[in-house]
């Protein structure tokens, strides 16, 4: 390991940040994974004004404002962080700093109009903590909870922008046993309510929908309008683990012509043929191998492998927000259990953008230069992001956590740690 380089990454970040607007950047000798399922190969990457200008085997003759020798290190597009509340949840249990769910004040059973993007804070410490680990974007989610529809979100890019949303509006639907039990004592209640709401979309009026008993309106007018508007271009993420629930979600989506995605999918392998036939992607946590609930009795480590072999499109999520950086380990574990390496890496880079309608995340000429130079295999726990590049600019590679390290790494403390300010 090159210690000097690492120290530079840790402590030389200011030096790197100042010329961050360099118009052209040449990365040489990278082992480049472009984002499709093709194996990596040694390439140079030329970046101009934030865009990838060229990707070729030897551009050492090209003059650039700045040159980084990747020296055989892997280079990938920035990674997808999974389905998270990054920028919505500063601290998990400090509820006034968490904006990913609607609480008891709003008692409707479906709130598709609840848009978490309105609460997104790019200055949250979670964003740089995640970004400097090589993650460039996430699917911002209305937290799955007890409601049948918990809200909407979309992709967001970790570029620090207040409005860096991309892709299709995504609606989060719960159809699992846990939430079913909460809303009506049965998961069938979800389908009853969804059917009621979606059937009403074809009629002119939805009268009565928001005037149900027990102060639990099914859906309000705005929510109904949201469903109408998102039915065609939106994406519906169904939270389901049990095989039978997944099949219900597929049938419902087919009937109402929805673009569906399954999230959870612990027993997706059981119904993999149906998933493949309908072209429905599944977002799984590849570490799930315990029957955590009666919805997931069939959870197994080779779920990803079986799904892929059957032709199902896979994505990963860890269920974590603060530790979303763990997702590389999740994907690596899928590979360790039989998933082809390039399939996993594609699911971590380009595929989520494609599925959720974001801008392409690939290393190809003309595309945005969002990429990462890794110290080693990006899917292994023994590697880390050496340099994140967003819009062709070098990320300063600092976060609240690197600042804490700088304060506590020195053994000489002088007047005290509070005086060690980066």
């Amino acid at each position: 390991m090159n210690t000097k380089r690492l120290l530079l990454a840790l402590f030389g970040s200011l030096l790197l940040a100042i010329p961050g607007h360099a118009a052209s950047l040449l990365i040489t000798n990278g082992i480049v994974f472009t984002g499709d399922e093709a194996p990596s190969s040694q390439l140079d990457i030329l970046i101009e004004d934030g865009l990838i200008e060229a990707v070729a085997s030897d551009m050492s003759a090209v003059e650039a404002d700045r040159v980084i020798d990747a020296a055989g290190r892997p280079v990938t597009p920035t990674l997808f962080a999974g389905i998270t509340a990054a920028g919505l949840s500063e601290i998990g249990m400090v509820y006034e700093a968490v904006d990913s769910r609607l609480n008891e004040l709003y008692t409707g059973l479906m709130h598709p109009e609840f848009d978490v993007r309105k609460a997104y804070n790019p200055l949250s410490s979670v964003v740089p903590v995640t970004r400097i680990e090589g993650y460039g974007y996430t699917l911002l989610a209305a937290a799955f909870g007890d409601r049948t529809i918990s809200g909407q979100g979309s992709l967001v890019r970790f570029d620090g922008g207040f409005n860096s949303f991309e892709g299709n509006t995504t609606i989060f639907v719960n159809v699992d046993g846990y939430s079913g039990n909460k809303i009506g004592g049965s998961r069938a209640a979800h389908w009853m309510l969804l059917e009621t709401a979606f059937s009403s979309l074809a009629t002119k009026k939805g009268s009565g929908l928001w005037l149900t008993h027990n102060e639990h309106p099914l859906i309000n007018k705005t929510g109904r309008e949201t469903l109408k508007n998102t039915r065609e271009n939106g994406i519906f993420v169904f939270r389901a683990n049990r095989a039978s629930d997944i099949l219900q979600a597929l049938a419902f989506s087919q009937k109402h012509q929805l673009k569906a995605i399954i999230s959870g999918g612990q027993e997706a392998w059981v119904v993999r043929e149906a998933l493949a036939a309908s072209g429905t992607p599944v977002v799984i946590n590849a570490l799930d191998n315990l029957p955590g609930s009666f919805d997931g009795l069939g959870a197994r480590l080779d779920n990803a492998t079986l799904l892929h072999a059957a032709g199902v499109t896979l994505l990963f999520t860890s269920g974590e927000t603060h530790n979303a950086r763990k997702l590389r380990q999740v994907a690596g574990s899928a590979v360790a259990n039989g998933l082809p390496y390039e399939v996993a890496l594609s699911a971590m880079t380009s595929l989520p953008a494609e599925i959720f309608g974001g801008k392409p995340r690939m290393i190809l000429p003309g595309l945005r230069a969002d990429l990462v130079i890794w110290s080693g295999d990006p899917l292994d726990v023994t590697s880390a992001a050496d340099q994140v590049i967003i819009d062709g600019k070098l990320d300063p590679m600092t976060s609240r956590q690197t600042e804490l390290l700088k304060r506590y790494l020195p053994t000489e403390t002088g007047l005290g740690r509070a005086y060690i300010n980066p």
């Binding site: 410490s125 027993e267 390290l405």
Partner: protein, 469 residues
């Protein structure tokens, strides 16, 4: 407390303890295993040493030798070329069995959250041995673990150290002779649980006041027993001396032992050092408060658990001989976990005498302690701390055994120690590493891709019948 008194107290209590049968004793006995010779392995011994292309021989339940030596007739030879061997992994912080899978409400047996001081409860009485998590942890190379009560209470109760052997009872999993642990908790959890009921403690100062009050009661209880035991001894001595004027008072006292109290049995056991203190604590300042309190009452804090800010007081922890059982990268799930950094473990490991441990507190994390240790190792190395694998492996083997008081028997590969070993397909510090074989007391308990050595709990049997494999 002065040291001579401590010694005396221990002596007397051990006398008294003999008079009572051990409660819920271990019934674990290793079946006979065949002698095994691992040929040409890379061996991380768990105590800091590394051997390349070296043989290891285990027989009669014990590590026999590393390098060269005699082998018995009928020894099984395992080609360990390009394979790695480590001690069996040990998790000092697990809730398997007490918060088992499936996590239904009726299985929620880890927190007796009905009073802030419940030192009288024992985690083992909540352990469901059919938790499928045990076999998953075994497939991850875990051979022993401590099952702890949760952190709702200031004193959560006793933890138990188990061998990871599938069984119908926890008694037959209990690590023979392992001391009990005492689970204590700092910070947010107890004050949230009880403060939320307008009950003490509702603040951190309330937490400390309640710990101290409990220790004062335990000291009094200990003194009562000391007096009683002294009287018993005096009476016995008088009888032996055949002085007919044996102390009447002593005889009377002998007839009226103090009333046993389960809560104070546990607390006084911790004061004496018979029960090891495992303290859930996140913040640096709170850990220092706890160390002062331990000095006030003359007990030792064995291990701080979670210690997300342990890196801020790494020197103090090392000076006090306290271990830090930590996560590689968890942070931010509550405000006392806000300052978590990925270099925490490496920084706690840095000072001379530092005792860093990777713990899981998770049914997922316990399956890949090697990967958690790998993450911590690489973060230390990137910060310039130069931690080789033979050092990092201590965090999930020897140091963990030390924290549980079983390091004289397991936790490292040394001749005479329990043959708790894992054969890995490669360097264990990788997401691609997997145990090929796991031995406990020299008996192979798990083998990859071998259905006859892949235990399943009763709960898992016959599930999902009809699903296409």
């Amino acid at each position: 407390m002065h040291k001579p008194i401590c010694i005396l107290v221990t002596l007397l209590i051990s006398v008294a303890a003999h008079s009572q049968p051990e409660a819920f004793p271990s019934t674990y006995a290793a079946p006979p295993g065949q002698p095994v010779l691992f040929k040409n392995a890379t061996i991380l011994t768990g105590d800091g040493r590394r051997f390349n292309e070296t043989d290891l021989y285990i027989a009669e339940g014990q590590v026999q030798w590393i390098g060269e030596g005699e082998i018995a007739h009928g020894t099984i030879e395992v080609d360990a070329n390009d394979r790695w061997i480590t001690p069996g992994l040990i998790d000092v912080h697990s809730h398997l069995g007490v918060y088992p899978s499936p996590g239904v409400a009726a299985h929620s047996d880890g927190n007796e959250a009905t009073a802030p001081v419940t030192a009288e409860v024992w985690a083992e009485h909540s352990v469901w041995p059919q938790d499928p998590g045990f076999s998953r942890a075994l497939a991850g190379g875990v051979t022993a673990m401590q099952i702890l009560p949760g952190s709702a209470n200031l004193f959560g109760g006793r933890g138990v150290t188990l061998k990871n052997v599938p069984s119908v009872s926890y008694q037959s999993m209990k690590f023979p002779g392992a001391p009990h642990g005492l689970k204590m908790a700092c910070g947010e959890n107890p004050k949230r649980v009880y403060g939320g009921r307008t009950q003490a403690p509702s603040t951190r100062m309330g937490n400390v006041a309640a710990y101290r009050s409990a220790w004062i009661r335990a000291q009094r209880y200990q003194a009562d027993w000391d007096r009683y035991n002294q009287a018993v001894e005096d009476a016995a001595k008088a009888a032996a001396d055949d002085t007919s004027g044996a102390s009447v008072a002593s005889a009377l006292l002998t007839n009226t032992p103090p009333r046993r109290n389960l809560e104070l049995d546990t607390l006084s056991g911790a004061l004496r050092g018979d029960i090891l203190v495992h303290m859930h604590c996140y913040r640096a300042d709170e850990m220092l408060t706890i160390l002062d309190m331990a000095k006030e009452f003359g007990y030792r804090v064995g291990t701080f658990h979670h210690g997300v800010e342990a890196y801020k007081i790494a020197d103090e922890l090392a000076e006090n001989g306290v271990c830090g059982a930590l996560w590689a990268d968890w942070w931010g799930f509550k405000i006392e976990a806000y300052d978590g950094i990925q270099e925490n473990i490496a920084l706690v490991d840095r000072p001379a005498g530092g005792c860093a441990i990777v713990h899981s507190d998770s049914d997922e994390g316990i399956q890949r302690l090697n990967q958690e240790a790998a993450k911590a190792m690489i973060r230390g190395n990137r910060a310039g701390l130069d931690i080789p694998p033979e050092r990092a492996i201590r965090w999930i083997t020897y140091n963990a055994a030390k924290s549980l008081g079983i390091h004289d028997r397991t936790g490292s590969i040394e001749s005479g120690k329990m043959a708790d070993v894992v054969l890995w397909n490669q360097d264990p510090f990788s997401v691609y590493a997997k145990p090929l074989q796991v031995y406990i007391d020299g008996v192979m308990r798990y083998e990859q891709n071998n259905p006859s050595l892949s235990p399943q709990s009763d709960f898992e049997l016959g599930q999902l019948m009809g699903a296409t494999q």
